[in-house]
């Protein structure tokens, strides 16, 4: 495994614990899908998340679960212009005035959104 995937691996260990906890609570025998929301500014690589998920879920009721990753593009707030703007640029420069935003509205999330369980 590439060294830079380790970050994603430790996140996935935390995810697996939570997924298995919910599956047990819901008395489900199989986790069919795991829905994640990953912001572009969250600093994680969706591909590395998939690799890590395969490793940590192997041999559990969530083995083979579909990993549905919804990527969330960054949205920022520009104080001086008083408006929200979207920019894929990680520095969040306002397209109207060019100043760097101090406030991220969306794009930093790393959410376990939902599970699909059987039954």
């Amino acid at each position: 495994m590439p060294f830079d995937a380790i970050h994603e691996l430790s996140l996935m260990v935390a995810l697996a614990e939570r997924v298995l906890e919910v599956a047990a609570r819901e008395q489900s025998e199989r986790v069919l899908a795991i829905h994640l929301r990953v912001g572009h500014l969250a600093g994680v690589d969706p591909l590395a998340l998939r690799t890590a998920a395969e490793i940590v879920l192997a041999g559990t009721v969530a083995q083979g679960a579909r990993l549905a990753i919804e990527e969330v593009p960054p949205a920022w707030w520009c104080g001086p212009c008083g408006m929200e703007f979207l920019a894929s640029d990680v520095l969040g420069r306002c397209p109207a005035c060019g100043l760097a935003s101090r406030q991220v509205l969306r794009g930093q999330e790393l959410l376990l959104h939902a599970l699909e369980l059987d039954p």
């Binding site: 380790i6 935390a14 614990e17 069919l32 600093g43 376990l112 939902a114 699909e116 369980l117 059987d118």
Partner: protein
Amino acid sequence: MCSHCDCGLPAPPVARKVLLGESLLARNNHQAAHNQEHFREAGVQVVNVLSSPGTGKTALLEALAARAPSTLRLAALVGDLATDRDATRLQQAGLPAVQITTGQVCHLDAAMVHQALARLEEAGHPLAALDLLLIENVGNLVCPASFALGEDRRVVLLSVTEGEDKPLKYPATFHSADLVVITKVDLAEAVGFDRALADHALRQVAPAARVLNTSARTGEGIDAFLEALLG
């Protein structure tokens, strides 16, 4: 068995959706909030020190320990993938220190810090007997930014030998800084470090952070650094 006929095929899976909407970092954030309660109760200021490897985190803390007034009760937790070399260095500088060896993990998390607090207490330095706890994170400008430890302040180091554009390359970490410390300024001239360029980069990614010049070797800026940590 399939419920539509008696074909003998296994029943298709029934998908039942359970909405959660919780952060993957929830567990760490929860533990960090718990650490913070310990820190508040004990009345200790806690600083999380982040930088790339080789920026001089340990040297800065050594210099801080050397110049701090003897009445100020300091201790350190220091994270590395392997070895206890940094803790040994800090102890030799008179700073009580506990090493956190993370193995394959590229950052400190709140649970590791919580465990290390118990070791610090065993070593005779309970939180309540400290004024300032310095946490030297694993040398890495990417992952530690996502993991809160319960700290009051986050300090990010930038050495003059790294290049002025480092903040632009690792914006998330610099964005999270309360204080940016430029280290090794005694080498600035030798390596052609352009402070105006560095300031320009920092203003873009960390517009709210305070910026300090320091040299662990000459002692420049160390008093101001200590003041900023306690202020």
